[in-house]
């Protein structure tokens, strides 16, 4: 496999992990389905990469910025995908 191929795979894994680690409230605020995008990133790779980066990631980042430090967030550091 070429270097480009490896880079794409690593990027996809990184994005899938990042998507999984984002809290449910950020996904709700971004009005996007977490399970759908995590599965898409994990299994479809490059097909999901561009739509995620363009259509989902900016919304998630904005939602995370707004909701950071919410007094209603659970205090315990969660497991994978739960903060």
């Amino acid at each position: 496999m070429s270097a480009v191929g490896w880079i794409i795979i690593i990027l996809n894994i990184a994005l899938a992990v990042d998507a999984g680690r984002r809290p449910a409230s950020d996904w709700a605020a971004a009005d996007r389905n977490k399970a759908f995008w995590v599965v898409l990133l994990a299994f479809l790779g490059i097909v999901a990469f561009v739509p995620y980066v363009i259509g989902v990631l900016p919304r998630l980042a904005e939602a995370g910025r707004v909701s950071r430090g919410s007094p209603f967030e659970k205090r315990s550091a969660g497991s994978f995908g739960k903060r």
Partner: protein, 312 residues
């Protein structure tokens, strides 16, 4: 926003809403929206909801090459039609604190459960009293018990500030609710804080009609510069109208026990009170609004407190 909302507005996002009716010991779903983004605002005077994409469309699934193509096309058409249906519309709702009967929370304790809060209120139409619950499903990283606690604290503070005619017992119960602890619901059940009194949902009970002597209504504003000078309203209006009688909550017991988690009742909800006093305004003092600016007017005023227009 009105003057009762205050400046300290907290926001949380919910992913679903249900309106339930408590009927013969059972819960009946009257309306439901799932997997939507609902902005929930907790203010000093109410809990308000707003949902822009309440109608999403989609839901088509296909298998195989042709099936997938059909599903993608059907979803695109369905979503476009849904967007067209909801264009220029937004789903909104609110529960003002005078109407609040109980506040409950349930914690996520497995795959089948979720973080959720329930707000109890009652309506009195033609005779019969209908007890309802507004259920909000919250994301799993949001602590529903903390949200419920915040609502109870604010509702109790609101009651104490604007309803001086409460009995000593009701006042003590409200005072204890201001410092109510975080609810600890059992798995898959709701635990509730109960308000000592509540009003049936009507326009007449939306706002307090009696304030403590010398306490200004927060929605009262200074009249405009060109408002009529004679009989012009003061910049701070003390409301002296007779308040509709509140319905005492059955949860108000000696000793201040205002929390209940019932496993023998659907969702842990304690049945609402039957009978009691009607929260409708007294006859002859129906709620009126300014014809110029739409502000709610106070019984006996000759001019609108906001725009100064003459009231007829």
């Amino acid at each position: 926003m009105d003057g009762f909302d205050g400046r300290n507005v907290m926001k949380v996002v919910a992913t679903g809403v249900r309106v339930l009716e408590i009927r013969a010991g059972d819960l009946k779903t009257l309306a439901q929206f799932r997997e939507v983004k609902i902005d929930v605002y907790i203010t000093d005077g109410r809990l308000a909801l707003a949902c822009e994409k309440y109608d999403k469309g989609g839901g088509w699934v296909g298998f195989g090459g042709a099936g997938l193509l059909v599903a993608v096309t059907a979803n695109a058409v369905s979503k476009a039609r849904a967007a067209s249906r909801r264009r220029g519309r937004i789903l909104v709702g609110h529960i003002r604190y005078p109407w609040l009967k109980s506040v409950g929370a349930s914690s996520k304790s497995g795959w089948a459960s979720s973080e959720a809060i329930r707000l109890g209120y009652s309506e009195k139409g033609s005779g019969a009293t209908v007890h309802k619950l507004l259920e909000l499903t919250l994301p799993k990283n949001i602590d529903a018990a903390l949200v419920a606690q915040e609502i109870v604290h604010r509702a109790a503070a609101y009651r104490l500030a604007y309803y001086p005619s409460m009995t000593a017992e009701q006042r003590a119960a409200s005072t204890s609710l201001i410092q109510a602890p975080r609810l600890a619901p059992p798995p898959k059940k709701f635990a509730f804080h109960h308000m000592p009194t509540y009003f049936h949902v009507t326009a007449g009970t939306a706002f307090p009609r009696q304030a403590q002597p010398g306490v200004a209504r927060p929605d009262a504003v200074a009249p405009a510069a060109d408002a009529p000078a004679a009989d012009a309203p003061a910049s701070a209006v003390v409301v002296g109208a007779v308040a509709p009688a509140a319905v005492p909550s059955p949860a108000l017991r000696p000793g201040g026990a205002h929390r209940a988690a019932r496993s023998d009742y659907p969702g842990g909800q304690v049945p609402g009170p039957i009978g009691g006093l009607n929260g409708s305004p007294p006859s002859g003092s129906a709620t009126k609004f300014c014809t110029q600016c739409g502000t709610r007017t106070v019984a006996g005023d000759n001019f609108c407190a906001k725009c100064g227009a003459a009231l007829h």
